[in-house]
């Protein structure tokens, strides 16, 4: 009996996510040298532990009459947990010179929670890690320390709380309907499942809340954005693959995201915001693949999430290096940086090519599985739109980002290459982009289903080269129309940043009239609010410091009341 308990506890303690979360917290208290060691070692330990978890249910416990499964593993869980741990490791290396202790601790907590989501076998565990991710990522954003990042973190957490509430309401309904807590494939055909889907889609950056992503990510520090780009949207992709494969609505949501990302990125001036829109664009491909729902499509979505995390982090690392060395992030103020930052330029170009699915890069072997799945399903329109979007990716990320930052007109800036740790991190990710592109079977072996797909056929390579190179031609022919302007483009966040506060202040102006009309009600409301604020206000009895005995008494009374209510 006792031995079983010890085994269970050690299982839980060796949970790779918890190791990263708790280790990250302790790390921030350590002396500098030890902290550096932990910063590099903890994610590698987590990566090792990910691969120690056997397939199937590793751990279960009972909680409030429900069976919880904190650790359950299979190929899909392992794939996502692997890339999350790997990303934390390379991100930790990149952020070695980040002076903020909070940012790294929060980033590791965030990454650990993302790994926790991957191994969650039930919806409640999933929800807990889901919310921990929201806290971790908000802290990463907030730790940047600027006024803008503080404001962005406020908006970010509000949207994610909304997503969390939707998710939890859905889970509650799901359990209420007798479907149990197990996290398995669902159909979006009843209210509770729709709420769960909506909660997941908020994190994926789907409309109408997609604006949270380009609003928040570019406000983080040079290293913070690298962490932010990796986990939230991709855990959402993971949960959608497991929870809602083959729900057709996802095809259309995904395609909307794909084009939304391209169009907004084409108009954007801030280099990190261009890349943020590009994240929505790429996640759109994954979501559409999940909507198609065949084994090929789900493999494609999972593989694309894996490669996307690598090349997007690489792109954001190069942007972070530019930001750190020049203190600028607007394309209209950058240009010609290849002169003094050749290594960063080459790494950014490799990331850009991988993101455009250029042959011999990782994006080519992953995204083509999704488009192939659309073709296999005879979905002509989906295939045509995805192909057009693939061309658009080269346009907005593949050429636009490196061109405006590192080439175009010479801004006269001659920043030095970034620190060694940052260069190493970029080199590792560049190498991964190429290695996966050249030897795709390394990635295919990790996918949830068996892969019967050969990306490198002469026809496929030629078709892709035509598509991309002629998009490149379009870019340079239309360059005059793509000139960067110091502008932003209004997005749905306008509704919660301007329209709602505007309406509130408009209502406040009319308040005087309204009070005149219903002064008795106003009196009652104010009397009630006086009573409440007297009780829980700053000097109210409920806000004071209570002795332990009083607290104990209050809890006992509450329990008795609850007992009476339950018994009756």
């Amino acid at each position: 009996m006792q031995r079983a308990w010890v085994k269970r506890m050690s299982n839980l303690l060796l949970h790779p996510g918890l190791v990263l979360i708790i280790g990250g917290m302790l790390m921030s208290l350590c002396a500098p040298r030890l902290r550096t060691g932990l910063q590099l070692g903890l994610p590698l330990l987590a990566l090792f532990l990910v691969w120690q978890i056997p397939d199937g249910v590793a751990h279960q416990l009972s909680f409030m009459d429900q069976l919880l499964t904190p650790i359950r593993s299979d190929a899909l869980s392992r794939l996502f947990a692997t890339i999350f741990a790997l990303m934390a490791a390379v991100g930790g290396l990149y952020a070695l010179n980040q002076p903020s202790r909070l940012e790294i601790a929060a980033a590791y907590g965030y990454a650990g929670s993302a790994i926790g989501v991957c191994f969650a076998g039930d919806l409640l565990t999933l929800f807990v890690f889901w919310e921990l991710m929201a806290i971790g990522s908000s802290l990463v954003l907030w730790s940047s320390g600027t006024t803008a990042s503080g404001r962005a973190a406020q908006r970010y957490i509000l949207i994610h709380i909304l997503g969390g509430v939707l998710l939890f309401a859905g889970i509650a309904g799901h359990v209420q309907s007798g479907a149990g807590l197990e996290f398995s494939a669902m159909r979006a055909d009843n209210l509770s499942n729709l709420l769960i889907l909506a909660g997941m889609l908020v994190n994926a950056g789907a409309p109408p809340f997609s604006a949270w992503l380009p609003d928040a990510y570019p406000e983080a520090s040079w290293s913070g954005t690298v962490f932010l780009s990796a986990f939230t949207t991709k855990t959402a992709v993971y949960t959608l693959i497991r929870g809602f494969p083959g729900n057709e609505i996802l095809i259309w949501i995904g395609l909307f995201m794909v084009f939304y990302g391209i169009v907004y990125a084409l108009l954007e001036n801030d280099m990190r915001r261009i890349l943020a829109y590009s994240i929505v664009n790429q996640v759109g491909f994954m979501v559409a693949g999940i909507g198609i729902g065949t084994e090929m499509a789900l493999n494609g979505a999972a593989a694309h999430a894996f490669t996307h995390i690598i090349y997007k982090a690489l792109l954001l690392m190069s942007a972070g290096a530019v930001l750190m060395q020049t203190a600028r992030s607007k394309c209209s103020e950058l240009g010609g940086l290849f002169h003094s930052m050749p290594l960063t330029t080459v790494c950014a170009c490799i990331g850009a090519l991988a993101s455009s699915s250029f042959p011999l890069t990782s994006g080519f072997v992953s995204k083509s599985m999704v488009t192939q799945a659309a073709a296999d399903g005879h979905l002509l329109w989906v295939w045509l739109l995805m192909t057009a979007a693939s061309a658009g990716v080269f346009l907005h990320a593949g050429i636009q980002f490196p061109w405006f930052v590192f080439f175009q007109k010479d801004s006269g800036l001659r920043p030095a290459e970034p620190a060694l740790s940052m260069r190493l991190a970029m080199l590792i990710l560049s190498a991964l982009c190429i290695v996966i592109g050249v030897w795709p079977e390394l990635l295919y072996r990790l996918l949830p289903f068996e892969v019967n797909y050969a990306p490198y056929t002469a026809g496929h390579v030629i078709a892709q080269l035509q598509l991309l190179l002629f998009s490149g031609l379009a870019f340079f022919v239309l360059l005059g129309y793509l000139k960067r302007t110091p502008t932003i483009t209004l997005d749905t966040d306008w509704f919660w940043r301007r329209a709602l506060p505007g309406t509130a202040s408009w209502l406040a102006q009319w308040r005087i009239t309204i009070i005149g009309l219903c002064s008795p009600l106003e009196r009652w409301v104010s009397r009630f609010s006086n009573v409440v604020s007297a009780a829980i206000g700053v000097r109210g009895p409920l806000s004071g410091t209570w002795s332990l005995a009083t607290m104990g008494l209050a809890v006992v009374i509450l329990l008795i009341v609850q007992l009476v209510v339950v018994m009756s």
């Binding site: 006024t147 290849f338 002509l380 932003i488 406040a508």
Partner: protein, 114 residues
């Protein structure tokens, strides 16, 4: 003064363009040696991917420009409002009365940017 980088010399831009166009032509001609066996009929049209890529990109740029006419704002659009409402936030805690005025200011700043 050091010699300009070879990418900065205008004469080389011409050479780069010529090289690029040769590559473009080669990718289209390659299709006749290694035919593209696509799933859909439309894929077997000669140069389909080349034309489709170009036209799709041109269409997306045109759409983005149109959308930009409607939705583009100065990049200070939110920042000035944010700093104003921060100031009004401080005013709220100082005295409730100041709120209306501060917010009115924020709005007029926002309008000025529009």
């Amino acid at each position: 003064m050091t010699k300009p980088h070879w990418l900065d010399r205008p004469a080389n831009h011409r050479k780069l363009w010529i090289g690029f166009i040769i590559v473009l032509v080669v990718t289209v001609l390659a299709e006749f040696v290694w035919p593209i066996h696509g799933h859909f009929e439309i894929e077997s049209l000669a140069g389909f991917n080349a034309l489709y890529g170009f036209v799709a990109c041109a269409a997306m740029v045109a759409f983005a420009k149109l959308l930009g006419l409607w939705l583009k704002r100065a990049d200070t659009f939110y920042t000035s409002e944010d700093s104003e409402s921060l100031a009004s936030g401080a005013a709220i805690s100082a005295s409730g009365e100041a709120h209306g005025e501060a917010h009115g200011d924020a709005e007029s700043v926002g309008k000025a940017h529009e």
